[in-house]
Symmetry: C2
Subunit: 214 residues, 2 copies
């Protein structure tokens, strides 16, 4: 079952099918995530690294032997929210994603939050999260809030990110909420925090696309 | 050979050693990058995916068998610029990085630019680059410009990113330059473009840290 939104087709899946897909894809994607980390840290010599590379290439060949078009997003039947496979912040099958698991609270207010780990692959200055990674996760979370849990189409117009202090690598909490709406524009705000408090603030203006206006 | 900058130690390496490290790490990291992509696209069944996962975990064990502390950044002896291993935009050993290979032009002006590919793992809306990924790569490039090719320490104070239109997945060009400086603050600007022109604009304020002020 699919529904057309704009130029794209989105599948709709039941919660049962969602849980089945999580059980299949989460452990695999987490293994790839750990491989990214190990690739930065490993001290093996050039010969052993080349062997590992050949083994990875053999796995890629087996994975690519069966390809099927993956919809960019499918919607969960119970909430109407999207399940993303490729998104680099929340995608179920994307090892680049930390991943963020976004919680939605407060009904129509859609305050969104996520707690997750940002390790070595997200480092900018030594020991600190890359400023652009802070912007990446906040852009996603502000967007989810501005679009009422991604049930209403939107595009980011502008986002401003203020760095109050460095964000240490490790556990972080991201939060976002709608500040106000004005016609087709929604103003969202958000923060990134460590255990000591807020490290980064963000303000975003999100715009309802022309084709989705009534 | 190491030199102290702030709280961190940075190694210094010759161009010959840099080229040796590139030859070892680039092909390995590129294989992990292709594995991330294949993990999103593959249509193999749950059994074959679990087999691939077990093979990946075996590779991780071998890589982790030899660990040595990797300096976050080492400096190239000839330019004084850092070589980053873990940075998620430019890191030599980080499969999350596209990677951007940043070119520096114009001597003291340090106009910086990079052309690189953003494929499926960087997708936000269907077929388009995630807005936060645009912010990530521009934050890095503005920072490199504001810090004169990363030869002078700095931290991002604020960055504002304006989305003019969606950036299609594929080849992009990022550019950045210093707009003006005012005491410890440097104002940098930049753009992200596809073949049709600019898709995203960014303004950043970068601040010289207290310990690096004269």
């Amino acid at each position: 079952m699919t529904e057309a939104i704009g130029n794209s087709f989105f599948g709709v899946i039941t919660d049962e099918e969602y849980q089945r897909q999580r059980a299949v894809y989460e452990p695999f994607t987490d293994a790839v995530r750990k491989l990214i980390d190990a690739g930065i840290r490993t001290g093996v010599d050039a010969t052993k690294l080349a062997e590992a590379q050949a083994e990875i290439e053999a796995i890629i060949d087996k994975l690519r032997a069966v390809e099927k078009p993956v919809p960019s997003i499918v919607r969960l039947a119970d909430t109407g929210r999207p399940l993303s496979y490729a998104n680099p912040t929340v995608g179920l099958r994307n090892a680049i994603a930390p991943p963020m698991v976004v919680n939605h609270e407060g009904g129509p207010d859609y305050r969104a939050w996520a707690e997750f780990d940002l390790g070595l692959p997200y480092e900018g200055p030594p020991g600190l999260v890359h400023g652009g990674i802070c912007a990446l996760v906040l852009d996603q979370l502000l967007g989810e809030t501005a679009s009422a849990g991604l049930t209403k189409p939107h595009f980011t117009g502008t986002i401003t990110v203020r760095y109050l202090r460095g964000t240490p690598l490790g556990r972080v909490r991201a939060e976002a909420w709608v500040d106000r709406t004005d016609g087709v524009k929604t103003y969202a705000r958000g923060t990134l925090s460590d255990a000591e408090g807020v490290t980064v603030e963000a303000d975003g203006i999100f715009i309802r696309p022309q084709w989705a206006r009534e």
